[in-house]
């Protein structure tokens, strides 16, 4: 028997329309206004982080920045849907979610500056390292959640990926494992229509990415990815479902990548400007702003405060990224094994010797 309740809606869940008007939904009550104000504040900050990081790439301060401009509602909702003890498993495009989850912005950007592969201690923030290969981290998320469940802990894990990742074998294996073992994971797909240059139609022939859920025996839901109210409502339900032992679910957020994949990508080669322009009117910030303004929940003073807060974060990022921390070459050998092998000791001795001959000043300063 195929359970209808595993199937997603025909159209994505939406609670606030493009004009900022509330849309009532019998299944998903709107989050309370205070929470939406908090989300809007985080959206303003997220947008500012995206703009600042893109500028830092142009200045040569970041090696690369995959911007989530236009997808900030997904980023913010992912972070806000979790409790303190829960875990987030993000990808490389999810820096705003990582920061919204509490990771120090400068530490979050260490990977993209090129100092080290991950710049924060995951245990300090309950945020796994940002994953670069697609879908691999979904399996880590499942194992992490399974371990928590075996110990009877209430941890929920939210695992993020994009539309391209849903084509990977690990996506399938992760969903299948999660459903078979009934683990407390929420799979959150940001369908932004493109995997670098390849459109969604080349990733899947399924009616939607959320429809894949029924094949694994878990519920799937589609949500408007530019509507932070709907995202919070849908993610809240999936998280509480997971926490109460009802197993995993798959959420597909429909959104759009407003900028190129990274600075190395020329998106004029694969999509029309008209298409990009059309999404400007669906901007996630404008929508919730209009809603909150209409509800009288925010005013010019509040907005100015949010903008000022965001500017502080941007300034912290500039200061952190415009300094050039001296990197320690010994770090190359420090973290390969818990105890350094004799071979690595020898290699470090060789590099140290090289440095003492070629960089005497650095050596003396050490």
């Amino acid at each position: 028997m195929i359970s209808e309740d595993l199937l997603p809606r025909e159209t994505p869940v939406r609670l606030v329309d493009e004009h900022g008007e509330a849309v009532s939904d019998p299944q998903y009550p709107a989050p309370d206004t205070g929470r939406l104000v908090e989300a809007y504040r985080a959206l303003v900050q997220g947008r500012r982080v995206n703009e600042q990081c893109s500028a830092l790439v142009r200045q040569g301060r970041l090696a690369v920045y995959p911007s989530s401009h236009g997808q900030e509602a997904c980023q913010v909702a992912a972070a806000l849907a979790l409790r303190d003890g829960d875990w987030l498993f993000p990808t490389y495009r999810d820096s705003v979610a990582v920061i919204a989850r509490g990771v120090d912005p400068a530490q979050a950007l260490v990977l993209l500056r090129g100092d080290w592969h991950s710049g924060y201690d995951p245990n300090d923030f309950n945020v796994a390292p940002q994953a670069t290969p697609l879908a691999t981290q979904l399996l880590h998320a499942v194992g992490f959640a399974h371990a928590a469940a075996l110990r009877g802990e209430p941890t929920v894990v939210l695992a993020m990926c994009g539309d391209g990742a849903t084509s990977e074998g690990d996506f399938h294996e992760a969903l299948n494992f999660a459903a078979v073992f009934h683990v407390p994971v929420v799979f959150f797909v940001q369908n932004n229509e493109f995997a670098i240059s390849v459109p969604l139609s080349r990733q899947t022939a399924a009616p939607s990415l959320a429809h894949k859920a029924i094949g694994y025996g878990m519920p799937g839901e589609r949500v408007d990815g530019n509507d932070v109210a709907a995202l919070l409502a849908v993610l809240d339900r999936a998280v509480s479902r997971a926490r109460s032992g009802e197993g995993p679910s798959l959420i597909e957020a429909h959104t759009y990548r407003m900028q190129a994949h990274t600075n190395a990508d020329d998106d004029t080669r694969y999509r029309e400007r008209d298409e990009v322009q059309a999404w400007i009117s669906r901007d996630p910030l404008v929508r919730v702003q209009a809603y909150l303004r209409g509800a009288g929940a925010i005013d010019d003073t509040a907005e100015a405060g949010f903008a000022a807060d965001a500017e502080v974060v941007a300034q912290q990022l500039r200061e952190a990224m415009n300094s050039d921390p001296e990197l320690d070459p010994e770090d190359l050998f420090r973290y390969v094994y818990a105890s350094r092998t004799p071979q690595l000791e020898n290699e470090w001795a060789m590099l140290r010797d090289e440095l003492s001959r070629t960089e005497p000043a650095t050596e003396e300063a050490r």
Binding site: W116, H117, S118, D121, P122, N123, A128, P129, P133, T136, L138, L139, H140, A141, V142, G143, F144, A145, H146, A147, A148, L150, R151, G169, D170, E173, A174, N176, F177, V180, D331, R334, Y335, V336, Y337, A338, T341, P342, Q343
Partner: protein, 361 residues
């Protein structure tokens, strides 16, 4: 589905082709009380004992993989573990190697010590990305903040008459990857002691179990502790040193015995840990004899045997009477069962290599 059936068939075949003694030898039940004398165990039973003892000692040790539950593994290595420790501690997974290793990584991140089984060496390749890009690198990516104490058990090598994809020697792929510790025991005692050490180890360990030796028997003293990263001089000698690991240790020992009857005193060193390699023990053994042959089943090109030979060449050159020789599998895909005996390094091939070491006699 057909894949699963095939695997079962192959496992049955593998068992059928095992030495006659194995057919009547089932692994010692995990629940048997500790005997006062060291019991004689097959390597499969020794590994089973190591898993059971580790699970009894530490609640965070979990065993999972394909067919490891009710069946007890296609080689019966996990026999009785589900019965004794329950399905939460030893369980069957969906048939998906990347999923097994990938979820094990997440479990290790969250305080568990998973020990996962890859059913056969060549079936582990779908998990390759998880092993080399994630298990190997998590500690490095996070500057040591996240360590992955996990063991990936892989039955490896030939000598059991398995059909294709059941007998690869894939050790070089793992040994080439910084961050992985690669261990290959050659005796039931080492299988027990090294697996206990691997499960206690703070980093991910690829634990290679020589399939052909699953049915070999020897006393196993469970109180003996092994150190990962230490080679073992199995046999002393003065004229040449044979260096081997896994199944090839037995071939080297047999060759040494024959060589002795021909008047040559041959030392044998069992490498045991491929990475990190115990250069000290290897170099001392080679310097003492001035001649060296490395013996391994894997294709020789870009292999662990190549690396050992190169290291010996670099560090022992003034002591050497002859170039270091390698006796390895051919640079071909692993042989079909009926040609296997031509492929695998045997005593004659090792003796020929010894004969080529610039003797003055």
């Amino acid at each position: 589905m057909t894949m699963l059936d095939t695997r079962h068939d192959q496992a049955a075949e593998a068992e059928a082709s095992a030495p006659a003694t194995s057919a009547t030898t089932s692994p010692a039940p995990a629940t048997s009380p500790a005997p006062t004398e060291a019991p004689v165990l097959t390597m499969a039973a020794a590994i089973n004992r190591a898993l059971a003892d580790a699970m009894a000692e530490d609640d965070s040790v979990l065993v999972f993989g394909e067919d490891v539950g009710a069946l007890g593994g296609v080689f019966r290595v996990t026999d009785g573990l589900t019965e004794r420790f329950g399905e939460r501690r030893c369980f069957d997974t969906p048939l998906a190697e990347s999923g097994i290793v990938g979820t094990a990584i997440g479990m290790a991140m969250n305080g568990m010590r998973p020990v996962v089984e890859m059913q056969f060496d060549a079936f582990a390749y779908p998990a390759f990305e998880q092993i080399v890009s994630h298990a190997a690198k998590m500690a490095n990516r996070t500057r040591g903040a996240v360590r992955l104490p996990m063991v990936i058990r892989i039955p490896f090598g030939g000598g059991i008459g398995g059909v294709e994809h059941h007998c690869d020697s894939s050790e070089a792929y793992y040994a080439h990857t910084p961050g992985l510790t690669v261990v290959a025991p050659a005796t039931p005692q080492d299988a027990y002691s090294l697996l206990r050490a691997a499960i206690r180890h703070p980093d991910p360990v690829v634990f290679l179990e020589p399939k052909k030796l699953y049915w070999s028997k020897a006393p196993v003293d469970t109180s003996i502790e092994a150190e990962i990263g230490r080679a073992r001089v199995v046999r002393e000698g003065t004229d040449a040193t044979l260096i081997a690991y896994g199944t090839s240790v037995g071939v080297a020992l047999d060759a040494a015995t024959v060589a002795e009857s021909e008047g040559r005193s041959i030392a044998v060193v069992d490498v045991r840990t491929l990475t990190p390699c115990d250069d000290e023990t290897l170099f001392a053994a080679v310097r003492a004899t001035g001649r060296a042959v490395v013996v391994a089943e894997a294709p020789g090109f870009a292999s662990v045997a190549s690396e050992l030979a190169a290291r010996i060449g670099e560090h022992c050159f003034p002591y050497l009477e002859a170039p270091v020789r390698r006796v390895t599998g051919f640079d071909t895909p692993f042989a079909p069962p009926k040609l296997e005996r031509h492929y695998l390094p045997d005593v004659d091939r090792v003796l020929d290599a010894i004969d080529s070491l610039n003797w003055e006699d």
